[in-house]
Amino acid sequence: MKHAAGASSATTSTSPSGRDNDEYRAVISVLVDNESGVLARVVGLFSGRGYNIESLTVAPVEDDGARSRINIVTSGTPAIIEQIRAQLDRLVPVCRVANLTTLGPHIAREMVLVKVVSTGEARTEALRIAEAFRARAVDTTASSFVFELTGASEKLDSFVELMRPLGLAEVSRTGVAALTRGPRSL
């Protein structure tokens, strides 16, 4: 008989694999009061307690700028992810925390800018692959492209991998923005 820890934690503490000791990757969304130092608190919590941050995004999400949403991709065992959630929830300026990965179906998207410097065959191949991925060329010179691609992180990973032999010069990624599917919100 295991109970969720509090009213606010609708999340369960099992990983998608269902095994307690398996690490999994979780997308955690945190709604915070938009005050100075709040990001340092969140990041300091991760470094201070030895949790991973794979990526992190933050921006104000309300008209008056009073609150920001932080999306963190992290990994750990179900117990660690649950600790991360609880520790975040404890921070004074944190309004809400949700582990989207266990909350239910969700969408996580990120954007990447990829610079490819090449000519001839490689250049044509890069453009062909970009089209197949529906990436946009946002900057074009005789010897280079900058492609913009939005989508799931895995899709971005494979796009970058395919560009590697074709003159990949630079990559800039945003980290994920994430929401639950359906009418429910955080």
Partner: protein, 605 residues
Amino acid sequence: MNAATQTTAAQPNASTTLSGAEVLLRALEEQGVEVVFGYPGGAVLPIYDALFQQDRIRHILVRHEQAAVHAAEGYARSTGRVGVVLVTSGPGATNAVTGLLDALMDSVPLVCLSGQVPVQLIGNDAFQEADTTGITRPATKYNYLVKKPEDLARTVHEAFEIARSGRPGPVLIDLPKNITVGPAPYAPPSTQGRRSYQPRVEPDREAVREAVAAMRRGKRPLFYVGGGVINAGPEACEALGRLVHMTGFPCTSTLMGLGAFPSSDPQFVGMLGMHGTYEANLATHDCDVLIALGSRFDDRVTGRVDAFSPRSFKIHADIDPSQINKIIQVDIPIIGDAGRTIAAMIEEWERAEGPAPDADALKNWWEHIEGWRALDCLRFTQDPAPDAIIKPQKAIQRIYELALETGRDTYVSTEVGQHQMWAAQFFKFEQPNRWLTSGGLGTMGYGLPAAVGAQLAHPDALIIDVAGEASTLMNIQELGTIAQYRLPVKLFIINNQYMGMVRQWQELLHGSRYSESYSSALPDFVKLAESFHAKGFRARTMAELDDTIRAALAHDGAVVVDLCVAEGENCFPMIPSGAAHNEMILGPEQEAQGAVVTNEGKMLV
């Protein structure tokens, strides 16, 4: 003069111009602050000037900012109120950090006001500038840098609310000098709390019901209570007493929980953990229902985690949801105030639904416990000869017994080390808030300033610091504060000429190589006392022990007592790090069933 101007004159409002420092003091007053522990400096001079011009808030000048924080902790823990600290920027703030972290680990409500360079100089490496909010972020429950005068009053009120509510803790407010010098509007406390901070107080009834059902089914139940019950207040402790009595279950306590349940009660089995009693640790190991109230499964309590209370059904009630399943997986978590949770448990227990508790099983359980108790795990042998060397255990036991004889309300603080553990073992606490010790952080130098804070809060009470000769030197300068305010604090130094706890571990784990743990070049504590205007005493032999303690307790001013005790005593029972509760090392008096300390154990130390 019309009515309106009269009110204005008597009670300045936003339209009269107050300085930030005056607004600050007014907010403190409104929060019921009577005492502030502090030390001045450039960045806080405007606040000191405002303090000078009023007499409602008393300022206590300590001799080091770390001591200001520990004094505020002693004040807070002995009263249940918020302790207040005032320090200057830069070194004043950095000196306070140890105390803040100490308060964070032990959930002590504090508000620390630190000076800061003017807003326009922040970031310029100005004189005595430090990134105080950055440095103290992981050492406080929350902190603020006030950048606008209109935020000042609201911030102060909110800081108090955050410090005392939920799981209490230290809150720091960094105050740039231009904010305290310049004008600022006053605002009363707001009635609605901050949206993002809504600690859950009321426990989930369904969870309580299930917990009580499990308690009724228990054949070997045990209460394991911690400092959270004391933080929930005297009523919560009183309710705990009722719950323990109505269930008939045994009750153990953490170091921080001592006093939540009366130590002399037959249902109390003593402290558990690394230096806990034999009966408490074996009961924890063997119980089938463990009811954790306001305790957090600290590593000094659990020992080897995978061997902790291996067969029990675990109920964990705590106000801090992040403590649930952090170290030990539990079966029923209950989030809420310990007092409300205990009250709800009492109601459920009285409702008497489900199977009746198994009286025979409980009787059997108590027989087991009495068997363990019969070992008398704290027993030691003291040579009674008049010229015999005093054992530290004896010294501490006699301090307790002779203090009890005075019949006075007694508060005890400690430093950190063997003497602290012996004090925890030998002192009996019948009431909460009487035991002031640094648990989570284990800060040497805590006890003397904590005694200062407690004595200021309770001018007529007997305040004792049970100290080690090494620890006490870490904040010995507070004898100056004690002298200035004529505080009749009784400092008993258990002088074993060693950092005894370090020496003990070196003996047990590092082949008796006593690396740097000898207390060389100690001062003459009697002369030291005299130079600080206190009375010094010394006892070297059994013949002198009782008379010295009696005389020290009877003296109406501050005393420093140098109790010269045996050097080589070890504190038992002991669960070595990395060992399980049933692998305790017992004292020479008791049958030794020595646990082999593993290499893994050495790493955990």
